[in-house]
Amino acid sequence: MLIRFIAVALIVVLFWLGTRRMRMIPGRGQSLLEMAVGFVQSNIAEGALGKVDGKRFMPILVSMFFMVLAMNLTGIVPGLNLAGTSVIGVPLVLALVAYVAFIYAGIKKQGVGFFKTSLFPSGVPWYLYIIVTPIEFLSTFILRPVTLALRLLMNMVAGHMLLVLCFSATHFFLFTAGGLFGLFSIGTLAFGFIFTIFELLVAVLQAYVFTFLTAVYIQLALVEEH
């Protein structure tokens, strides 16, 4: 939990400092910050939802993105070494937020008709609803949040495992096994290094994927027919 609080504090402090003195002509820090938020805004929110709805759901999406990103990155910070998202709590909570968000968006837009359009897609012969409706129900209302949460969780757990494996192997070869086995430690350390870089990529990518999928789900709930 401590790791998560550190991540939260980091986000809040960083953005607090970044947005405290906003200027018309941005400095380096402000440009960087604007770029990060602008990435979420243009690529995720407006990319999937369009300008108007993108603005509506921007707070949720941007919070999601930076929370996942920060907690992913704790996995490769020395001293923290554990991704905040590699315990089920955070992914589950965020998936629930996404779940609530897209159902809210659908109901707000189409009323109860939202469930009809998502469970009984138009243009399908009535007898196929026997098959289609359970599938739609399963995929939309059960599998979406589960996959969201599990995808993030498993990615981070796997990354954590890999790093643990590499670094503990290095430690073992270097100090416990000794002798010629020490040479192995070079290889395992190199792998550890590579996977650390890889984790950096995965951290950003998973944050992007999680947020983008949420945006897409909201968008799917907003369209009348699909």
Binding site: A7, V12, P26, V93
Partner: protein, 185 residues
């Protein structure tokens, strides 16, 4: 990881391994709530405000530049028109001046010609008059001198006026005739 560990540790208790520990969920939710609150109420409005202000500034700048450009174009157009007008006017004035100049020159020439003609006529008249006067006085003087001379030569007074004037006329006619013959030569 914690939940898994806890699940492993509390084997005796009835813990559903699929349900994560309460604290995990609760505190994650708290984390998200904090982040969401700050982004929603503080960071995003600040960012949006700045971005909007910047967009406005850029738009305003562009608009201002456009207006300035339009003004400059208008001014240029005006100057060009004025310049053309000025040129046309200058040409007109020049033309007029030239015409006037020509007229003045012509007038002056005419006046000069007239003046010259008058002067010539006057001079001629004077000359003629003087010549006549000279002729008359010469004739009289030459006549009297000739008579005096002749009186001396022939010793007789040519007091008879009728005779003497006939003689003088005769003489002068001869003189003129001879002069004319000389001039012809």
């Amino acid at each position: 990881m914690h939940s898994a560990l806890l699940a492993a540790a509390g084997e005796g208790e009835v813990i559903n391994p699929l349900l994560p520990a309460n604290y995990d969920i609760v505190w994650s939710a708290v984390c998200f709530a904090i982040i969401l609150f700050f982004f929603w109420k503080k960071f995003l409005p600040a960012l949006t405000k700045t971005l909007d202000a910047r967009a406005d500034a850029i738009e305003g700048g562009i608009k201002k530049a456009e207006i300035a450009q339009a003004e400059a174009a208008a001014a240029l157009e005006q100057y060009k028109t004025q310049l053309a007008e000025g040129r046309a006017e200058a040409a007109k004035i020049r033309e007029q001046a030239r015409l006037e100049g020509t007229a003045i020159v012509n007038e002056l020439k005419e006046q000069a010609t007239i003046e010259a003609a008058r002067i010539t006529v006057n001079a001629q008249a004077t000359i003629e008059a003087e010549r006549q006067a000279a002729l008359v006085s010469l004739r009289t003087e030459v006549g009297s001198m000739a008579i005096d001379l002749a009186s001396g030569v022939i010793g007789q007074s040519l007091s008879d006026d009728k005779k003497s004037s006939a003689l003088v006329d005769q003489f002068l006619a001869d003189l003129e005739a001879s002069e004319k013959a000389k001039a012809k030569k």
